[in-house]
């Protein structure tokens, strides 16, 4: 007997869970399919959870969500081969009742989110891969899975299957993602006792620290690294554009190894036990790479729509917001007795354009191109900055004025004055 639902959600990441939760909570009969053994097993993320997007759906999520630490300190480090220069911002204000940013481990977090979907009546089936969308003409009417059995039908299918959505490409919704629009990130989780994490980062209770890292570790490629403190582990990762890896001479894994060996990082990981290594793609094409978001009987949400703000390392919040907006569109249409046709689903696009998601992506629309065409951001500058700091800090009888002059000279030597000014202008334009 063929099953039929109001909506099918493919994928149980943040986007799919947000969509499924919102739909089921509104009383719709929904099915969510996830290929992983449990929600979260296939997911890879640093990971920072931005509370706002989740809070809009589950206001009291702090009561039982598996949160690791709330972030009270942000560090930005620029590394050269042997040193780093950086900034810190730490504030007790982040120790508020309702902190805004948390570190999470995706596996338990996604599982928790999924339990919420079930609690409001969503039907969730894992270990099942959607292999094909069933179409009637150009209208999506259901899905086919890798399991023996009948096709499954629905009024609308929401694709939340993550970056590199095979289903979307296979169904012709968008072309295969291009190498210059996607980053490859590798990350490891190093476990160590809670006390060690806390003393190493000078934190207590549930406080946490984030370090954003850029510099020569990426061998001149466009990319950044990150380090997050979890309750009893540390997440360390690094990512660069796939197109760069293709031309480059270093593998992502080797890069991560170099990062781990860096004198600024190694002491933070010492004694830890590496338990999880994972590699994952991040769609970083930004605004210009966002595909068509909807069609006859289908919508794209989250990574499968390329919704990542690479500059601020935001993804899961865009994913959740898009998932929620897609679901709300379906709920409105259902309530009005309207079909999920392309014409009606434009409301989803309109809601997205109104939200921070598309606004933020638009703001940074030029950045990916600029970074890509100006590799010195990731090679020359880190070295110069570090050397400058070094020069200023060494007390060797030379006067400070001469030192400053030398530093200025070193900058101009490596990068012409016009170049420096151009860089500054382009960065300002791109992030304005």
């Amino acid at each position: 007997m063929a099953e039929k639902f109001d909506a099918i959600v493919v994928g149980a990441g943040p986007a799919g869970n947000a969509a499924a939760y919102t739909l089921a909570k509104a009383g719709l009969n929904i099915l969510q399919l996830e290929r992983g053994e449990t929600p979260g097993t296939k997911n890879v993320q640093g990971a920072i959870l931005y509370a706002d997007a989740l809070e809009r759906m589950i206001p009291d999520f702090r009561d039982d969500a598996p949160l690791e630490r709330h972030i009270i300190e942000q560090r930005m480090w620029i590394l050269d081969d042997r040193s780093f220069i950086g900034t810190n911002y730490r504030s007790d204000d982040f120790n508020s009742e309702r902190p805004n940013r948390y570190t999470i481990l995706r596996a338990p977090f996604d599982k928790w989110f999924s339990s919420k979907v079930k609690a409001v009546g969503g039907l969730v089936i894992c270990e099942t891969t959607v292999t094909e969308l069933i179409k009637e003409g150009n209208k999506v009417i259901g899905v086919r899975t890798d399991r023996l059995g009948d096709d499954i039908y629905a009024d609308v299918v929401i694709l939340a299957d993550g970056v590199n959505s095979l289903l979307a490409t296979k169904s012709g919704f968008h072309k295969e993602i291009e190498a210059q629009n996607v980053a490859l990130a590798v990350k490891e989780i190093h476990f160590m006792p809670q006390e060690v994490v806390e003393s190493r980062f000078n934190i207590k209770g549930d406080e946490g620290v984030v370090i954003e890292i850029a510099g020569t570790v990426t061998h001149g490629m466009v990319g950044t690294a990150f380090l997050y403190t979890n309750k009893e582990s540390i997440t360390l990762g690094i990512g660069c554009m796939v197109s760069d890896f293709k031309n480059g001479n270093i593998t992502p894994y080797a890069m991560l190894e170099e990062l781990k060996a860096h004198p600024a990082i190694a002491p933070l990981l010492e004694g830890g036990e590496m338990k999880e290594y994972a590699a994952h793609l991040i769609p970083e094409g930004g605004y210009k790479a966002v595909p068509q978001l909807f069609g006859e009987g289908w919508m794209l949400v989250g990574d499968s729509a390329g919704l990542v703000n690479a500059v601020h390392r935001e993804g899961s919040n865009l994913a959740m917001t898009s998932g929620r907006l897609a679901a709300e569109t379906v709920i409105t249409l259902k309530a009005a007795g309207l079909p999920c046709s392309a014409a009606n689903l434009t409301r989803y696009k309109a809601a997205m354009d109104e939200s921070f998601v598309m606004k933020d992506l638009r703001k940074y629309r030029e950045l990916p191109g600029i970074l890509h065409n100006n590799p010195h951001f990731f090679s020359v500058y880190p070295e110069l900055l570090n050397r400058a700091a070094h020069t200023m800090l060494i007390v060797d009888g030379e006067d400070k004025h001469s030192k400053e002059k030398a530093i200025r000279k070193s900058f101009v030597q490596r990068r012409s004055l016009w170049g420096l000014m151009g860089d500054a202008y382009r960065m300002w334009r791109a992030t304005r």
Partner: protein, 280 residues
């Protein structure tokens, strides 16, 4: 035919970490799985059902989360499940576990008599291989451990013929039903659930039995109270102090091999002697 299969939910021990200072298990994020050995028992029971008809009931004793393991069993195609869960079961060793399970299986059998009970060969956390024999003795079932294949089940004659692994060979044994089989690993491969069973599993409401529902009157036989053994100490294995002596590999494989043999003849003379290695 009514078959009961006992399964246990266990932490995936491949992913367990030990706190380097306190030597306690760090369970955070360690997924719980069906004891891998029990999958062979489930599959064999399903195959028997495919062959001869009847019903398969899966039972587990554990915390409420063990429901996930049972739901999975439903997805594989078993007919019914029972979750035996009660604070009174906590701290059970194998004797107390087999008492509780035996009693619950009796209760299941009161409604629909049980012909065969299956367990896995052993668990990967307790690792004792005792719960199966324990249940059999408690229930007075014929015990067939380490079964590699079931040759024949004759419901008229109430007989069963199996091949069981014993030291140095395989025994072909015939005995009477009801019997308990502990299934050897590698004997079959768990099936890939159908979509229909996935739906059934997702919608299934797992029945929870406390000790009274399971028909257990004597609380002194279950849980910590009913357990003769107590764990008196848990500790980490002592790491070996001496690391390997590294053989020089800079001159290529051939030189490395020669260097190794030289080292053996000088440093492990007794072994070299026994091997009959010539020293140069």
């Amino acid at each position: 035919m009514h078959i009961v299969v006992c399964i246990k939910q266990v932490p995936d021990s491949a992913q367990i970490r030990v706190h380097p200072v306190t030597n306690t298990i760090m369970r955070q994020g360690v997924p719980a799985i069906i004891n891998p050995f029990d999958l062979f028992a489930i599959e064999e029971a399903l195959r028997l059902k495919d062959r001869m008809g009847g019903k398969v009931t899966v039972i587990t004793m554990g915390p409420p989360q063990a429901e996930d393991a049972l739901r999975k069993a439903i997805a594989f195609g078993v007919d019914d499940v029972v979750l035996l869960t009660d604070r009174a079961f906590a701290g059970a060793d194998t004797l107390a576990t087999s008492f509780a399970l035996a009693q619950a299986i009796r209760t299941i059998g009161a409604e629909n008599p049980v012909d065969l009970v299956f367990t896995g060969k052993q668990t990967i956390d307790g690792d004792t291989a005792q719960v199966g024999p324990g249940i059999a003795k408690r229930m007075g079932l014929q015990l067939l451990t380490y079964v590699a294949a079931i040759d024949e089940v004759d419901l008229e004659q109430r007989s069963i013929t199996v091949q069981r692994r014993s030291e140095g060979g395989v025994q072909v044994i015939r005995t009477q039903l009801p019997a308990l089989i502990t299934m050897l690993e590698g004997t079959n491969q768990i099936r890939f659930a159908t979509m229909e069973n996935m739906f059934r599993s997702a919608r299934y409401v797992v029945p929870q039995w406390n000790k009274d529902r399971a028909g257990i009157e004597d609380a002194s036989k279950i849980g910590l109270k009913g357990s003769p053994t107590v764990v008196s100490k848990v500790f980490a294995p002592k790491p070996k102090a001496i690391k390997a002596q590294m053989i020089d590999v800079s001159q290529g494989p051939k030189a490395t091999a020669a260097a190794l043999i030289d080292t053996l003849t000088s440093k492990s003379a007794r072994l070299a002697n026994e091997l009959g290695l010539v020293a140069y």
